[in-house]
Symmetry: C2
Subunit: 216 residues, 2 copies
């Protein structure tokens, strides 16, 4: 079996970390860094152009943040695997990344050997999750069944919950406004807020979730 080479793009707005990653990958002949980007927007263009095997993406970036960039990449017509690289060991970040389609999640303070091994895993189709976060992820996924649902709903205001119910009935903004006696523009604000709080990208996703959760 020949030793394949993998094209890699590194996206990180911190030049030092970026260079560190590039250097680290340079030590392993399997990895070829074909491009670097200092922002999500810039990285997006490069990914589109190069269609790399692997994208290493910083989670905490100014401007277009890591999750947004990850989603944007997943919407491109490329089949690159994306591994998030971050200093955060917050399980919330991990869960958000996994939900948005991350193929791996690495911590910047991991040992170089661990990082390289994890990247190889990701390319191999296995999700690379550090040991210490595995338990948090399992916990978060279990919470998906009820705990998290309540947590998500409780993060909404009464008005937002009311509007979510309307969405689950398939109402348009105009009809929701008429139903609740408020302006259509105001409905948009609440919809916008609840989409942000629940991390949905459209009223469609929110409505489907609400229906599946039995929100009434």
């Amino acid at each position: 079996m020949m030793s394949e080479q993998f094209n890699v793009i590194v996206i990180d707005d911190h030049p030092l970390f970026r260079k560190g990653v590039v250097q680290l990958l340079g030590l392993d002949t399997r990895f070829v860094v074909v491009a670097e980007a200092a922002s999500g927007a810039e990285g997006l263009v490069l990914v589109q152009q190069h269609n790399p095997d692997l994208v290493i993406l910083d989670l905490n970036m100014k401007g277009m943040d890591g999750i947004a960039t990850l989603r944007a990449i997943k919407e491109l017509d490329v089949d690159s695997r994306v591994v998030m690289l971050t200093v955060s060991d917050q399980s919330a970040d991990l869960v958000a990344a996994v939900r948005a389609g991350a193929d791996g999640y690495l911590l910047k303070d991991m040992e170089p050997e661990e990082i390289v091994a994890s990247l190889a895993d990701a390319l191999d189709g296995q999700m690379a999750i550090p040991e210490r976060l595995g338990r948090a992820l399992a916990l978060a996924l279990r919470e998906d069944d009820g705990n998290e649902r309540n947590a998500m709903l409780e993060s909404l205001t009464d008005r937002e919950r009311e509007i979510l119910v309307c969405l689950s009935y398939g109402l348009s903004n105009k009809l929701v406004g008429r139903e609740l006696g408020i302006a259509e523009g105001t409905v948009k604000v609440h919809v916008k807020s609840l989409l942000r709080k629940l991390s949905f990208r459209s009223r469609l996703e929110a409505a489907i979730w609400a229906v599946e959760q039995g929100v009434k």
Copy 2:
């Protein structure tokens, strides 16, 4: 109890039937025809202007048909009751009308006394459904549980069913196209077709229905 008077608007693109209805209502002092319209679009404007107690609406009109007009009226900020008047005794038409929010459903070949009595019922809050269609309606409503669901699904082509499933996952047209390997514009055509076939007004309604029906 004083004998109230009800303002009525008649919408029918058949002048003869329209005049007949107006004359019929003229025989009963409770009804006051405040306007007539020969098309759905025209009627819509009049309903908006007059906010009548009752709208008598022909189901079978050229141009904007009766169901479409009914929906448009229900979207207006008026609380008019709408009774469909039609020659059709097809239960499908009846079901569609009831679903779209009709407050009554009359047949043009009913006896004048029956029609007037039914209109009074509708104004009183009771849905006016002819005896002979009652059984069909009950049947149709029972069919809502499975039979009609299958009938609705079977009216779709394979591609449309496939796309409906994508909608139930919350995908946008662009993502559906990418998922199925076709152009976004093509997805739009299929979505438009399935919305028409299933009588939904938005992908949101279709997706919610699909989720509730367990379409997978």
